[in-house]
Symmetry: C2
Subunit: 230 residues, 2 copies
DNA sequence: CGGTATCCCCCGCGATACTG
DNA sequence: CAGTATCGCGGGGGATACCG
């Protein structure tokens, strides 16, 4: 992006922040992604060359640092400046949650992104030690993105798009929109069940304690948001 | 800008906020500009057609409202949503002030913008009722943008680029960079005088009370910033 | 896995002129 | 003063292939 030729701090900030994909890259890093392909997974529509280009620019701008250790794969992390810029991302997200809801289009409800997001916010500490499988069925989606399984085992959460072969403990049957709306706090699990847009099938105990382990979006959860800023 | 196809509130926010010039338009409105040509004056490099286009988009997005009253010229104002988005602009500005200083280029120090900004932050209440003329001389600038006069009269401040014909009460002799650095708080008037990059000539009383009437950038002044958000 | 290289299209945006 | 109309280009960025 060409600059603005203004000394105003807003202009100088925008020359860095207001490029396409930049807020999403920082968001991914705030959520814990550190490797190139993790960042890609959080932004599947972004071409690898463009991601590479942005990372270089953000590195040059002092927002991101690339860490290359002997024999390990490269990692990207926010610098102190980047963490500060994260507050701008957070504010923008909170604004979007409150004011841009009506601009959501059907194309926005990609269950891949939703599941990737849910995966990393599951609170495994609330689970028994044994393996658990949680199944999601999105009735509105074509077969390629209709079914997902989260396999929780010993604190790790794996996301599968094929039946993992283990018994399923809990199944969500719903649409991608309803699930995303729950995720963002526009509706609640309780409410979605009541109006028939969500069906939960499986272990009673898992259902009962769902608020203990199901992690909502960071923008829905003030405490998690606070943590992501520190 | 094409969208991101993500339900994430950051993405939805960025689809509105992360367009070229948008933060600067909102900044201008936060600083009190309400008419088309005021917005232009704060962003002289922006073409009128693009400003028109942006205003339409921001209106459609619920950020800006256009007010057309009988026989009066059109005005633009931030909606509640827009004022909320102003907090994002403010955060971005504070970030830029802290972290993007090193990216300032000589082209960024446009004295037109600086004077336009200074003009609207002069605290006229600290002045005597009589007319005052403050003169700025930017030694580094070509004649077209070397000299400016602020004519303060009865609470109004006029910015002139030609000698207004009245006696000058105070003169700033400096460079556009030094003046902008003072404006943003990177250095102080006292310090600039001491190291010889700024010379103040004129009435002793005006010099002595300069901190009472010289308004710094809103990003330099936490109180003014607070006020702009409410 | 972690990127580069290349190609090409499209459209964002800058410039300018013009109008009510 | 408050915009609209038009035109043309530059390069941002999407798509894909490829390399270490």
């Amino acid at each position: 992006m060409k600059g603005y030729n203004q000394f105003c701090p807003v202009a100088k900030g925008a020359e860095i922040f207001n490029e396409r994909w930049t807020p999403m890259i920082i968001r991914e890093m705030m959520c814990g992604s550190r490797r190139f392909n993790d960042l890609r997974r959080g932004n599947p529509m972004m071409s690898p060359s463009l991601l590479s280009q942005r990372l270089k620019f953000l590195e040059e701008a002092g927002v991101v640092e690339k860490i290359t250790r002997e024999g390990e794969s490269a990692e990207y992390a926010l610098t102190e400046s980047g963490r500060d810029l994260g507050e701008v991302v957070t504010r923008l997200g909170l604004w979007g949650l409150k004011w841009a809801r009506s601009r959501l289009t059907p194309d926005d409800y990609d269950p891949n992104l939703l599941m990737w997001d849910i995966r990393r916010r599951i609170d495994t500490s609330a689970f028994p030690a044994q393996r658990l499988v949680i199944h999601f069925m999105f009735r509105d989606m074509p077969s390629s993105r209709r079914a997902y399984w989260l396999v929780v085992d010993d604190g790790d959460v794996d996301l599968c798009m094929k039946f993992p072969g283990f018994d399923v403990d809990l199944t969500f049957i719903t649409t991608s929109k309803v699930m995303a709306d729950i995720w963002m706090g526009y509706t609640s699990i309780r409410n979605a069940i009541k109006n028939g847009t969500l069906t939960l099938e499986g272990e009673r105990a898992l259902k009962k304690d769902i608020d203990d382990w199901f992690g909502y979006s960071v923008f829905h959860d003030p405490e998690a948001l606070q943590a992501s800023l520190s």
